[in-house]
Subunit: 235 residues, 2 copies
C-alpha cells in the first residue's frame, strides 16, 4: 500500500518504529514506566500468564501503546535487557583474584537469591529461549557484565598468578555458571556456601590452566603444565 511516488519529498518510510522520531519527553517517560512495570510483572508472574494489558495498567499507560511499541512480550523483554545492560554496577577491586571472584560470586548469588531479581532473571532467560532477538539481547547483557569483571582476572594474569594465555572472560563465566545451574536446573539452595564454592572452583581451575586459550597448534589434548602447583596431574 505504497503512497503514490510522485512528489514524495520525504520518501516516507512507513516502517518507522514508533518512539524513534520523538524520543524525548512523554515517549521516554512511557518507556521508563513500561520497562519498570514489565520488570515487576515478570518477577511476580512468570513469562506466561502475563499479559501486556497488565503491564500497561501497572505503568499507567494505555495497552494500545504497549502493543504498538513492543508488540510482543519477548520484544519487551529484549528492550528491558538492553536497558539493564546499560546500567552497570560498580565492581569491587581487592587486588587478590580469589577475593575478587568471591565478591563477584556473592554479588551474583545475592541477585539470584533475591525473590524479585531471581524471578526476573528466570523470566528473562525463559523469554530468551522463545525468540532469537531476545536471546541476542540476553547474550549482550551477559557479555557486558562479564566484560566488567574480566579485568580482575587480567590483573591476576599480569601478577603472574595465572597462565598468560588464560581467557579472563571464561573464568568469570565459570563463577556464575554453577549459580545459574542451581537457579534453573537443580534447584539447590543459593546459599553463601554455593557462592564460595563457585569462586574457589573457578580460581583453582584457572590456576591449574583449565581456562587457557587453545594454542595455535592445539590439535589434540595439549598437555598443559600448571605454572604454580601440580594440579595438572589430574589426568
Amino acid at each position: 500500500m505504497a503512497l503514490e511516488p510522485r512528489y514524495d519529498p520525504v520518501m516516507t518510510d512507513d516502517t518507522q518504529e514508533p518512539g524513534t522520531v520523538r524520543p524525548g519527553g512523554r515517549t521516554a517517560r512511557t518507556r521508563t514506566a513500561v520497562l519498570r512495570a514489565a520488570g515487576d510483572a515478570l518477577a511476580e508472574h512468570g513469562i506466561d500468564h502475563l499479559d501486556l494489558a497488565d503491564v500497561a495498567r501497572r505503568a499507567g499507560v494505555g495497552k494500545t501503546t504497549v502493543y504498538r511499541r513492543w508488540g510482543t512480550l519477548t520484544n519487551l523483554v529484549a528492550d528491558l535487557l538492553a536497558d539493564m545492560a546499560e546500567q552497570s554496577l560498580p565492581r569491587t577491586e581487592t587486588g587478590r583474584l580469589l577475593d575478587d571472584l568471591l565478591a563477584n560470586a556473592r554479588l551474583v548469588r545475592r541477585t539470584l537469591a533475591d525473590p524479585r531479581q531471581g524471578a526476573l532473571f528466570k523470566a528473562m532467560i525463559a523469554a530468551a529461549t522463545c525468540d532469537p532477538n531476545t536471546a541476542d539481547a540476553l547474550h549482550h547483557f551477559y557479555a557486558v557484565r562479564i566484560d566488567e569483571w574480566a579485568p580482575c582476572v587480567q590483573q591476576a594474569i599480569d601478577r603472574g598468578e595465572l597462565p598468560g594465555d588464560t581467557d579472563p572472560h571464561e573464568v568469570i563465566r565459570a563463577v556464575s555458571a554453577p549459580l545459574y545451574y542451581r537457579l534453573l536446573n537443580s534447584g539447590e539452595p543459593l546459599d553463601d556456601a554455593a557462592a564460595e564454592r563457585a569462586a574457589r572452583a573457578a580460581a583453582y581451575a584457572a590456576e591449574a590452566g583449565a581456562y587457557r586459550r587453545p594454542g595455535p597448534g592445539a590439535g589434540t589434548v595439549t598437555r598443559i603444565g600448571s605454572p604454580s602447583g601440580t594440579a595438572g596431574q589430574v589426568p
Copy 2:
C-alpha cells in the same frame, strides 16, 4: 485413596485424575503419543506460541483428551520430564576421573548442541520457571541424572585422587553448569572445546578441594590443603 467405607456405593471422589483407574492399553498409548508429540512440538516452537491443540493433532488424539488429562502446558512438560527421568542412558566407565568427566561433558554437550534436544531442554527449563510443579519435575530429572554419574567421582575418591569429603554430586553438576550457561545465558558455541574445558575445570577444582563438604566446624573460610599438588596456593 481408600475404597469407600461401606454403604456409600459411590462416594464419587471426582478429584480422580483421568488415566489413573484404567492406565493400560489405550490410556498408555495416548500418553506415549502425546508426550512424544509434546517433545517434538516443544523442540520446534518454544514454550510460547505452542497450543495444546497442535500437540493433540501431532499425537493423533483429540484435543479434549490433552486438555482433560494435562490441562496446562506446564503440567504436560512436568509429565514429560517425569517420563524422561525414568529413561536412563547407560554411563561409561573408564577408571580415570578426567576421562569419566570428559565422557559426561561430551554427552551433555552433544545433547545440548543437538538442534532438537537443545531446543527441547531450553523449552523445558523455560517451562520450569513458570510453574512450581514443573520446576520440581525438572529438579528431580537432574537429580536422577546427577545420581547416575556421581559414582565415578566416588571411585576417584576411593582411589585417593580426590579429598575424602568431596561431594560427588557437586563435581558432576560442575561439569554441566558451564555448558548450560552457554546454552541459556551467554550463547557462546557449544563446541567440543567447551566440553573439554568444563570437564578439566571440574577435575582440577575437585582435585584442589573446591567441592569438599563443609566440615562440622566450618564457621569461616576453612583453609583447605590440596591432597596432591599445590593448587591450593591460589589464595
